[in-house]
Symmetry: C2
Subunit: 211 residues, 2 copies
């Protein structure tokens, strides 16, 4: 995962992933604009293994995080110096998640993501929808639906790690390790959706697994 | 806040707010690209009023959320029908927050945002840094620093509501109302950073204010 080379920045071509545009509006009589991105809705799944009482995370290299660790003066380099900026800077710890780009029920996409990324085959009736919220308020306002499931070692039928080009590691953390993570001074290499999921779990679920 | 007219989408001009580009890299010998945005780092502040035991939220119209509530077929309209899609669809409930675009200590920007948006004049030594995390892992990986402060009615020296063109309402919620919010089936019109803040408060702070 940490073998990183030939890193450079180039102009955005016509991209299927990032479609920026300008939103124009008049609010309370005042003309305004806001620059936005079109982004897919998504699903995130909190997966807790009750056999060994560990939370299941996915770990992967995230260009957006890596880029933000590069000093602005170095971002314009022809090639980014990966000795100075090793890949480890961009490695994120997240909940299992996926975008909703197929014409399928959201719960089914959640089930597929848990299998593809984490290797657990979870029956649909064991995926509990918790809530949904907006992924962001600035440039992207897509909806993210949040599921919770408890899995056992028996359900681990595949290796996980993603499909196609994905390079994903499955990582497990105990409840004390989760508490240590959310209480660290940071920077925590995780997005707020992951931290919400962890705090939600600690507050509403963890007690029954402690003893 | 909900007087919305002349809504339409146009191509992104050269924008100071949204700067998309392509990140090119070779990971484990495989050439890849990822499309990204350059985004400012930011600060978010959890403000709890201990005089009346209420959490302080800011409420504002967010184009990114509104846009995502418009059916894809209607997004291309010359003008968006605001009878069919009222402004209320785009109104978000968030923690007080701001971007770090000034050459000042982060804690000072936190202090200014609490005053400008919420109207409370908080001494610097009462702003406690909790942690920092990545705002996103997809297109934006900027750092968000998270502060907590307890305020009293005496500290409310200004009206709040933001500066310049900002149209921001200050909203208060009791602890039971926060619990109801995070336990709703959604869509919750808030970003995950707000939900993380609420769960963090419920888990680590709320008990001392209940009785």
């Amino acid at each position: 995962m940490e073998d990183l080379k030939n890193v450079y920045i180039s102009p955005l071509p016509d991209s299927p992933y990032v479609k920026p545009f300008r939103f124009n509006y008049t609010q309370n009589g005042k003309e305004k604009t806001w620059d936005l991105l079109e982004v897919h809705d998504s699903v995130a799944i909190v997966v807790f293994n009750v056999s060994r009482k560990v939370m299941i995370f996915v770990k992967q290299f995230r260009p957006a995080i890596y880029y933000n660790c590069i000093h602005p003066d170095d971002r314009e380099s022809k090639v980014i110096d990966t000795e100075k900026y090793p890949a480890s800077l961009g490695i994120a710890l997240e909940m299992c998640a996926g975008i909703i780009d197929k014409n399928k029920p959201v719960i089914q996409i959640a089930q597929e993501e848990v299998l593809e990324e984490c290797g657990y085959n979870v029956p649909l009736d064991q995926l509990h929808k918790i809530t949904s919220y907006r992924s962001g308020v600035g440039v992207q306002g897509s909806l993210q639906t949040f599921y919770y499931c408890e899995v056992t070692d028996d359900m681990k039928t595949e290796q996980g790690g993603g499909v196609d080009d994905e390079i994903i590691d499955v990582v497990e953390k105990t409840i004390p390790e989760i508490e240590e993570m959310v209480n660290s001074p940071g920077p925590i290499p995780s997005p707020p959706s992951c931290l919400f999921a962890l705090m939600w779990f600690l507050h509403y679920k963890a007690d029954k697994f402690r003893k």
